[in-house]
Symmetry: C2
Subunit: 181 residues, 2 copies
DNA sequence: CAGAGACCATACTCGTAAGTATGGTTCCGT
DNA sequence: ACGGAACCATACTTACGAGTATGGTCTCTG
């Protein structure tokens, strides 16, 4: 017996955040509109302004949600039982590929919003620490700098896609490149 | 009726483009508002809509202006009488630092506008070709890939600023890094 | 000097998205 | 059952920026 009570929607605060999260991935922070989300959820603004004081409160909730998810992912990498540092770096790459669209949206958002910038900065700090640790484990010199360049080259791909004439390197090749000579 | 003989405005189409150009650097493409520019130029919208059909025409003029300026700069590098490839790369770095703010604004713009994306892609193609040429001159392997990673790491700095605890490397150190072993 | 065209000001319309006011419905405890 | 709180719909107001309509003023030219 499904509760097909479609007549009365009833949406929770969490649902709003989730919908906004999806919309963030699809069209970025400016694409998050109250009316659009309401239509997607099958309700109206009346619902929104009961759960939230205003739009900025939704956005802050979004940042919170992202920060937690992100922290969990990084901790999952850190405490994951993967002894080989090289393999750990590969997992970081894989994770990055999964959340690419979301990550991109967050970084673009951070370009014009101090709160988002702070959240991203915080997440990057943890990520850089993790990468640096892997590099030092591999006895790579200048680990902090290499980690930073590695991450920058990665997110730089958001701004500069791979040209057609340039063969896109495999993740392993990229890793080897930043591991140096 | 004394008409307070203020210095009568009179603004050219070029002035509008120039003002928009400055505003682009300061607050990005969404920050380019007709009224704001008009106030800045000491005129009103009436002037604007005489010189331009609409806002998009101004933006296209902006892209044109940028493309030309950019082409000139790259050509200046290409035909500059600098035999040493290493020195040429250094000049590219220096140029990048000069136009960083503008470059950043253009790339952010390109994230949500196909025309801007096309302009940036075109400019990048030329730039990558130039860098690749320098690298091959230096007998560096995988020149195209390295050139791409170099540029990505550079623009990645727009999205990930240097953390406080990480000593920012000198331009020469960065160059050495991408020149490999 | 007269008129035409270039240039601009003023005062609107219009579309959009955020935010508000208010009342209606459902649920839940006593 | 009933009264209040949770939840939502409807209709409204506001703010803002793009775009339009129209007429005024300057300048140049015949």
């Amino acid at each position: 017996m499904e509760t097909a009570k479609r007549a009365r929607p009833r949406v929770s605060r969490r649902d709003w955040v989730e919908a906004a999260y999806q919309e963030l991935v699809r069209s970025g922070e400016p694409g998050i509109g109250i009316n659009a989300l309401a239509a997607r959820l099958g309700v109206t603004k009346g619902s929104f302004y009961w759960h939230f004081r205003d739009r900025s409160e939704l956005l802050r909730a979004l940042l919170d949600r992202w920060a937690h998810e992100r922290t969990d992912e990084v901790l999952g990498l850190a405490f994951g039982t993967t002894p080989d540092p090289r393999e750990r770096l590969r997992r970081i790459q894989a994770l990055g590929a999964e959340v690419a669209s979301l990550d991109r949206a967050m970084r673009l958002w951070a370009q014009h919003d101090p709160d988002a910038a702070e959240a991203v900065r915080h997440a990057d700090r943890a990520m850089l620490g993790h990468i640096t640790a892997c590099l030092t484990d591999l006895a790579v010199p200048d680990a902090p700098l290499r980690a930073l360049l590695m991450l920058r080259a990665w997110v730089g791909g958001y701004l500069i896609p791979t040209p057609e004439d340039t063969p896109s390197a495999t993740p392993d090749e990229l890793l080897d490149f930043f591991l140096g000579p």
